[in-house]
């Protein structure tokens, strides 16, 4: 393994986060990172002071998050324990190679809840970049770690972090399908729905409180909206024929859906309660996989109107259809990023299905993986990573790839096939 700095420093780190969550009974996703960014920011996370067990969970979570992003190089704090008010020997930390340093403490507050305090320093400028306190329950210490990691990420990169977001995915084990919700690092998985029939196409409501998805429990595809906190489910589209491919409008009021009630698979919009069905496409072929652009003004979709499945864009109320993808004979599953700059999709090249990203301004397409069965891309809310389902050794796994293709993370679950990932919105 070459240790010299290269345009791309490839390294392989296995982070078995399950070690951190030994008390959790269910199977967790483990994460493997391959490849990292070119200019990783060297950062040291000192051991936080205060309650040792709680501090250990929080600092381990922060370090794992930053490491996993591929944008940071973790500097070993060499056993240093520092709280947010400790005197910092900046020269010492600079000497170890750290450009930034975080120090903090965990203390039990008056109401029995844990208070995580921290401060972030720039060792070059020898100044504090800021700090915060997060108050959490004892079972939410990892959440506090994610919030601190998000703070550090944003201060040092200028972009919002996604460590405290959640992901949804479907696990197939035997004949059973489970729709699961987990933290973005795959930890803390909870099952929202168990079914003996397939569940596909989960999508998060913009506020993160609900999922829309397609369930086959009625022997045909039917669209549901599921409130995660209450478990309450509502049928949004159960027309004659198939009902599928839901996508939320950015204001959360509407869903674009695909219905075959009038013949072919065509795109319609419905209110989130299932009322007010309006047809948006009028073609003789297949129109499916609608996704609203971040500004809500247009809808990207897949259509075979030109003879092969390609990606098109139309106005959010239909009309003004323009073809978007041109290279190759199979381009499907368009997913616009929330910054409006790029479009992730799946392209078939030489019989392999691979993740591609198009720069919407230049129309330049970059293929980001070398796999053969990529499916269901989903952008992180900061547009920096794309989560996909892929297959390794005949088993479905999830993989996250940075939009420039340099950083790849693999999330795999011990038992069963994992598929249909959906990255949730920013934590609100």
């Amino acid at each position: 393994m070459k240790m010299t700095p290269m345009p791309q420093i490839f390294h392989k780190i296995l982070v078995f986060l399950s070690l951190l969550a030994a008390t959790l009974a269910h199977a967790q996703l483990s994460i493997e990172i391959t490849g990292a960014g070119a200019n990783r920011i060297p950062v040291a996370i000192a051991n936080f002071a205060g309650d040792p067990a709680a501090a250990q969970v929080v600092t381990a979570t922060i370090r794992a998050d930053l490491e996993r992003s591929g944008l940071f190089k973790l500097i070993d704090p060499a056993g240093a324990t520092l709280d947010e008010n400790s005197q910092i020997n900046f020269g010492d930390w600079k000497g170890r190679g750290a450009d930034a340093l975080a120090a903090g403490s965990l203390a039990r507050g008056a109401n029995g809840r844990m208070e995580a305090r921290f401060r972030l320093y720039d060792t070059q400028k020898q100044a504090a970049l800021g700090g915060a306190v997060y108050v959490t329950g004892n079972d939410q210490l990892r959440a506090a770690g994610h919030r601190i990691a998000d703070y550090i990420y944003e201060k040092l990169t200028g972009e919002k972090g996604v460590f405290s977001t959640r992901i949804a995915y479907v696990v197939k084990s035997g004949a059973q399908f489970r729709l699961q919700i987990a933290d973005a690092d795959g930890q803390g998985a909870a099952t929202a729905l168990t079914s003996n029939e397939p569940i596909i196409s989960p999508v998060w409501s913009p506020d993160g409180s609900r999922l829309a998805y397609v369930s086959f429990e009625k022997k045909k595809p039917v669209i549901y909206v599921h409130s995660l906190a209450s478990g309450q489910r509502q049928v949004v589209a159960n027309f004659k024929g198939s009902n599928s491919a839901p996508a939320w409008s950015p204001d959360g009021r509407k869903l674009a859906v695909v219905l075959s009630k009038d013949g072919n698979s065509q795109i319609y919009s419905v209110n989130a309660d299932g009322s007010g069905v309006q047809r948006l496409t009028q073609s003789a072929g297949i129109d499916t996989e609608p996704r609203y652009s971040a500004d809500g003004g247009s809808i990207y979709f897949t259509s075979d109107r030109g003879g092969s499945p390609q990606i098109y864009r139309m106005g959010a109320s239909g009309g003004d259809v323009q073809r978007v993808s041109f290279e190759g004979s199979y381009n499907v599953s368009p997913r616009p990023s929330s910054d409006g700059k790029s479009l992730a999709f799946i392209t078939r090249r030489d019989g392999r299905f691979q993740l591609a990203v198009m720069d919407l301004a230049s129309k330049q397409v970059q293929i980001l993986t070398d796999s053969h069965k990529d499916e269901s891309p989903s952008f992180a809310p900061n547009s920096r990573m794309v989560l996909i389902a892929t297959e390794i050794g005949g088993r479905g796994v999830l993989s996250a790839v940075s939009s420039d293709g340099r950083i790849k993370q693999r999330l795999s679950i011990a038992a069963g096939d994992v598929r249909e990932p959906a990255w949730g919105p920013f934590n609100q």
Binding site: P198, I200, S201, V214, F216, K219, K220, P221, K240, G241, S242, S244, A245, V258, S260, G263, N264, S265, I286, T288, E289, T302, P309, Y330, V332, S333, I346, R348, F353, E375, S376, G394, E420
Partner: protein, 177 residues
């Protein structure tokens, strides 16, 4: 299916026994031989409440799968008689409904495959309605790649999964969907 045939055969034997002269002196009464045998009505129903002609392997109507070529959605000539038999049954039995489930192989986007499966079930529905089945009797849906008949990953498995299946429901709501 074989299990279901056994009571029918037994009851036929019993009916046969009662019609032949019985030797009054020969021991056990005839009706004790019938214990534990489910009564079956002529032209009987199967366990889902469907007429046996829809499920009896000897009946053409028990054949419910129509296979398609790669990227193709037309009902092939070899299935024309099969589809015609189902259309004839639906014309003669207006109270019956069918659900046609279209399927695809595993390659490609799940949602796009759902739409491809819909094209296959729509093609079968069109054939049935052209031959006289009422629009209200036939619903075509798609399971896409989600319910493979053959879980394999080779051409033989894929060919088995490019398929439309016909499911029946009787007027009383009993049936296969």
């Amino acid at each position: 299916m074989k299990k279901l045939l056994i009571p029918a055969l037994l009851s036929a034997l019993i009916v046969g026994c009662s019609s032949t002269p019985v030797d009054e002196t020969s021991g056990a009464p005839v009706d004790s031989r019938g214990s534990g045998v489910a009564p079956v009505t002529a032209g009987g129903l199967d366990s889902r409440g469907l007429p046996r002609e829809l499920t009896d392997p000897k009946s053409v109507l028990s054949q419910r799968s129509i296979y398609f070529d790669l990227d193709k959605y037309e009902v092939k000539d070899e299935y024309k008689d099969l589809v015609a038999a189902h259309a004839k049954y639906l014309v003669a039995n207006k109270g019956f409904k069918v659900l046609i489930q279209g399927n695809t192989d595993e390659r490609g986007s799940r949602e796009y495959n759902l739409s491809l499966g819909q094209k296959r079930s729509d093609a079968v529905k069109r054939s049935l309605t052209l031959l006289g089945a009422a629009e209200a009797q036939v619903e075509s849906v798609s399971l896409g790649e989600e319910k493979p008949k053959n879980p394999g990953h080779d051409e033989a498995a894929w060919a088995e999964n490019r398929r439309a299946d016909i499911l029946y429901r009787a007027a009383d709501g009993r049936g296969e969907f």
